[in-house]
């Protein structure tokens, strides 16, 4: 009779599927052992020991399934990431800024003849102001301003690659 009980318990334990939480909460099997078998287990010291060994082993298998997180491991992986793929926030921003500046420059060159031919006072005045700035060396400051402005634009764009 006792042998039957331990044998049946062994068979049940082979198929039972429990997570570590269930094992921790209910190590005696009150909620997950079949009722008939449970009462037999309660009467048999051998079966109780068998059940305890099962629970201990299962919990250890679950607990040991993962190793402790190692921050150095993460650092080593990140260090080995392909350099060309890692976010080149600065480089991307610089490229973006350069092309913004270039676009401003091209726009200026395109508008320049129109400004000369047109009698409109405001654009002409702006052009004259820029021209005089160039003669006095302030044009470089203006270019710098463009680059800076473009850089800020590049940084502020939410969809820019470096933003996220």
């Amino acid at each position: 009779m006792r042998r039957d009980c331990t044998q049946r318990l062994r068979d049940v334990l082979l198929d039972v599927e429990l997570d570590s939480g269930q094992l921790r909460i209910d190590p005696t099997g009150r909620t997950w052992l079949p009722a008939a078998l449970r009462s037999e287990v309660e009467r048999s010291a051998e079966a109780r020991a068998q059940l305890a060994r099962f629970v201990r082993t299962e919990r250890e298998l679950f607990d040991d399934a993962r190793v402790a997180t190692d921050p150095f491991f993460t650092a080593r992986v990140v260090e080995r990431l392909p350099a060309s793929d890692v976010d080149h926030r600065g480089r991307r921003t610089l490229i973006l800024a350069t092309f913004h500046a270039l676009a401003f420059g091209v726009a200026y060159v395109l508008v320049f003849p129109w400004l000369n031919g047109d009698a409109s006072e405001l654009p002409g005045a702006v052009h004259l102001w820029i021209e005089s700035g160039a003669e006095s060396g302030a044009l470089w400051g203006l270019v710098l301003l463009f680059v800076l402005g473009s850089w800020l634009l590049g940084c502020a764009r939410p969809d820019a690659p470096g933003w996220s």
């Binding site: 060994r53 250890e60 993460t74 996220s164």
Partner: protein, 209 residues
């Protein structure tokens, strides 16, 4: 919409405005940043989250801590390269376990020595990382040895099963096996584990003192 919001939050966090980082985001968002954005910080968070289980899986498959860590690094590097192709049909964890298993298979086929277990498999696996009772340490060693003696097809199933958050269909997907085969393998593997522990007078097979 939630992704857009998450993206915004992450961007702010990175700039120090919220003082929080990628730890707030779920795997799907992190994959988006790390994949399309090639953001190394987002990827580092994914590594931090999943390294324990990936390293644990490879440790149990190889029985060698150094080798398991080397292979785990390869796993994450492959994952990073392949992130843009990750379609999100499976969970990120399932996908990375599958990569881990493939990396292990590749390694094993490269090195015939690993066709069998490396010498000292059981003793090298169970080194405790924290202060533990001698009994628990012995039990860990015995379990590692018991897992190590399993045939490889059974070992992979049983190791994935005890990772806990991996379902049967996911195990089947990771190993490329039919669901029924996974269940059969698991049943046999658990039976063999118990048999081994009993036959070898393991701590797990002895009555509690």
């Amino acid at each position: 919409m939630s992704h857009v919001l998450a993206r915004g939050l992450a961007g702010l966090a990175r700039r120090g405005r919220l003082g929080r980082g990628f730890a707030e985001l779920d795997d799907a968002c992190l994959v988006e940043y790390a994949g399309a954005g090639r953001d190394s910080d987002a990827f580092a968070e994914l590594v931090r989250r999943h390294q324990g289980k990936v390293r644990g899986l490879l440790l149990r498959l190889t029985g060698n801590r150094t080798l398991a860590d080397d292979l785990s690094q390869e796993v994450f590097l492959r994952a990073f390269r392949g992130l843009e192709r990750f379609e999100g049909r499976a969970r990120f964890s399932t996908w990375i376990y599958r990569i881990a298993y493939n990396v292990y298979l590749n390694h094993r086929s490269r090195s015939k020595v690993l066709g069998g277990l490396p010498a000292g498999f059981d003793t090298r696996v169970a080194a405790p990382e924290t202060l533990e009772s001698a009994g628990r340490c012995d039990l860990r060693r015995d379990l590692a040895a018991a897992i190590g003696q399993l045939d490889e097809r059974y070992r992979a199933v049983v190791v994935l099963y005890y990772i806990e958050d991996v379902s049967y269909p996911e195990i089947a997907e990771i190993l490329g096996l039919p669901l029924g085969t996974v269940k059969t393998h698991l049943h046999r593997a658990r039976k063999m584990l118990r048999q081994y522990l009993t036959n070898n007078g393991s701590v797990a097979g002895r009555p509690l003192s």
